[in-house]
């Protein structure tokens, strides 16, 4: 292989950075915490974006664009919000060659600027709901940057909805959570935990935060998307009232929700291996790479045949042919494995003779000869098998690294030494949560209401008091 990728077993963290670099997903930018998303990484983002965008639109959302720069006084209007975000902001103090009267912050998230506009747009229940989303860049100053996972600037979508009742807003927050779950599980083949966040992990300004969490191959969890029920907090901060059907004035109810380029980090860490990236077919910019195998004497024949194959398959698949004469087939095999293309088709003179091609799966390395007559059907079923196989493998991994605990010592030992998802009863207090963090480095990723059968029977893993929730603890990114 022409690329040096540190094996996961040697250094997982370095393996991740090697994949990002060698598969040309991203490069470091000129300032601390910034990255450049290279064409390989961006094509992946475009594919994720297009799919999720369609799902959000099918659910009735529309896109818009709100300004990048927010007056710093706006951030101040919601007490928790400013406390959470002000320390992370980038501040513009000069514009057009002169100092500004009021500093502007680059949006770390857009609740404040959007609710300042909703104030102008909402008068009556007839103006509701508003179901707006935007695909934008945001900036949050990052002390420990890591490509895709934590960068000072990142790309995301942020949805901001306005409703005439608490119930409707709550339902919207959960409806989005379900869209995120479907998107990440069905398109990205990443199984997730779905549930609520504890108070300490709640979004600054939210009443409730819901999240999807995925388990990486190093048994650390990663928050892959969040959906917030904001109550009337931002409506109150920006004085956004509406006249309800009974003619009475009421503050508007809100949600906000987002997923970001962090998903690319999740995709790498869940599926990839020591040979490079593995991209699930449904989100792969290229599903199939076709590699002609020839000598000087067979060159013309093989290239002509492959050009026909490319034309034929491109009607149904996202396929590229790598006919670059400057690289050997072996070099190309390694290169396209590194870049994570799910299916490779090799075609040389013998294959042509036999009316077949050689097909190689990226996930398993399995090689098989496929008759040209069955080509589309076999490509299609194999891609589908890869998609489901990747999901199943990740799900098995998640299950194999999930454990229920009632004994605190075992619980801490699991979290500190083995890693994975530790399920346990939790009394709901911030103190017990903090104690686990101090003893193990793990935090609560998700809380769930108790099953009926557990109520009164499950105790908190720390305090031994009656549990209020089942909590899932893990170390996390």
């Amino acid at each position: 292989m022409s690329h040096a990728i540190t094996p996961r077993a040697v250094n997982y963290s370095q393996w991740y950075l090697d994949i990002v670099k060698e598969a040309r997903l991203a490069d470091y930018g000129p300032t601390k915490g910034s990255i450049v998303i290279r064409p390989g990484g961006y094509a992946l983002w475009e594919r994720l974006q297009a799919t999720l965008d369609r799902m959000l639109k099918e659910a009735g959302h529309v896109n818009a664009y709100f300004p990048l720069l927010i007056p710093s006084s706006y951030l101040q209007k919601e007490a928790e919000h400013v406390e959470g975000f002000a320390p992370e902001t980038a501040v513009v103090t000069h514009g057009g060659g002169a100092p500004l009267e009021e500093p502007l912050v680059i949006r770390p998230t857009s609740e404040t600027v959007i609710w300042s506009m909703y104030k102008k747009w909402i008068q009556s229940y007839r103006d509701l709901p508003i179901l707006i989303n935007q695909w934008v860049n945001v900036v949050r100053w990052e002390k420990r940057p890591r490509p895709f996972l934590r960068t000072t600037e990142f790309l995301w979508q942020e949805g901001h909805t306005a409703h005439s009742s608490a119930t409707e807003a709550q339902q919207e927050a959960q409806r989005i959570l379900e869209i995120y779950r479907r998107f990440v599980e069905e398109v990205m083949a990443i199984p997730v935990l779905v549930g609520q966040k504890s108070e300490s992990e709640r979004f600054a300004g939210a009443v409730k935060t819901y999240a999807i969490e995925a388990l990486m191959q190093d048994r650390k969890a990663l928050q892959a998307g969040t959906s917030h029920f904001l109550g009337q907090n931002f409506a109150k901060a920006f004085d956004v009232l509406f006249q309800n059907e009974q003619g009475k004035e009421e503050f508007v109810w809100a949600t906000s929700w987002g997923v970001s380029t962090r998903l690319i980090g999740a995709l790498i860490m869940v599926h990839s291996d020591d040979r490079g990236l593995i991209i699930p077919p449904r989100c792969a910019p290229t599903e199939i790479v076709l590699i002609p195998i020839y000598k000087d004497s067979t060159r013309t024949q093989v290239l002509a045949h492959c050009s026909q194959l490319q034309q034929r398959l491109s009607k149904r698949f996202r396929i590229v042919t790598d006919a670059d004469p400057q690289n050997s087939p072996g070099w190309k095999f390694a290169e396209w494995e590194l870049r994570g293309v799910p299916l490779r088709i090799e075609c040389g003179p013998k294959d042509i003779e036999n009316d077949s091609v050689m097909m190689v799966r990226r996930d398993s390395g399995k090689k098989e000869s496929v008759s040209l007559a069955d080509l589309e059907a076999t490509c299609s079923s194999t891609l589908s098998e890869i998609q489901h196989g990747l999901y199943q493998r990740a799900l098995d991994f998640q299950k194999n690294h999930s454990q229920h605990f009632t004994d605190y010592r075992n619980f801490i030992q699991f979290l500190s030494e083995e890693g994975g998802l530790a399920y346990a009863g939790w009394d709901g207090s911030a103190n017990t949560e903090l104690k686990v963090k101090e003893d193990s480095g793990a935090t609560i990723r998700i809380i769930k209401a108790l099953h009926n059968s557990d109520i009164g029977h499950l105790n908190c893993i720390v305090s031994n008091q009656p549990a209020k929730y089942t909590a899932i603890f893990a170390k996390s990114y």
Copy 2:
């Protein structure tokens, strides 16, 4: 009509602002010069973006994402570039709660940050060409803001290519210009002038700037897109060398090019009328609006029929049904005319009886009954007629307001009083260009090499010296 739109004849400038506001394309943001692109405007941008993006990809370009924040020292590296852009920048001086060691500017354009990366990526001719584009927001402090036309923040695509020869880079700059021309003429139905810019209007850092220019209904020109041949200026500023096929080191050759949300302003000003927006079908987020016409007694029947029609037509067209019971048909007609949907279909009990619908064109207001049997074919041909009709109307307008001049007094009078595109010989000197500007307020929009037949026969409209170019002068946005 429920919306107050100032007629063009009364106040063209106010008419434009009224359309932007009433058709809900945009609203003013919280800071000077900022706008919010509302869902109606953003859907238009998404459609333009998707179409142009496909054209650029078909021509071999790939998308990427470079950082928003650029060290201010980068801007300094190209002398003309910093002179042109530094006065317009927004400057970040604080991040993460502390003053920054070096201030960062929000990208006004990305040549500098991109060439700092190309320095890392380019070693040999084998790494070339690089054909990268990005769709991003940029900030340029704007003293006289106007929605879509001049805003402090705007959205655009910026292409940045790197080549191994001057010829190839020159060809790329012109190839893009041709893509822009096709896109704006064929998709947006806006005829454009294509050519080079004079030195005074050249991009800061370019060797040559090419542009497409369109004529608005108030007979002022608008620059709709630019493509720059950058020579080796940025390669020299960032020390980007490559080894050529002969093994010698050479500076890399470059282009950059962009179109922005300004195109939405052009679309409004070229096509729309006193009733509101008119969107050419090929870039209309909604091509057809279907409006059920019913009384209480026919409600169920009409809505069921329209629901079938919607389902049937949505297979081939971007169509929405407006069945909102809270608004009258008359209100809806005005509303959807305001929003510029090219085709309206009305359907009531009588239409159902006759197996027909009523079809109304947005461009001409022409109404005709169409048999259900021919519905798709008629929609399709009518949309195509509207597309071509809008282009032809704009082209006629452009021709009717273009004139060749050899007499300076007539020339100045035309530019000052009548307005339009004034063609004249130009000696190529900055002084003569400036004199025209002082006398008339017009600038050179495009210069063209002389036709063979003109060489030696055409004199400069100002100096009466032999002309070097045919220049097209106009007042502009």
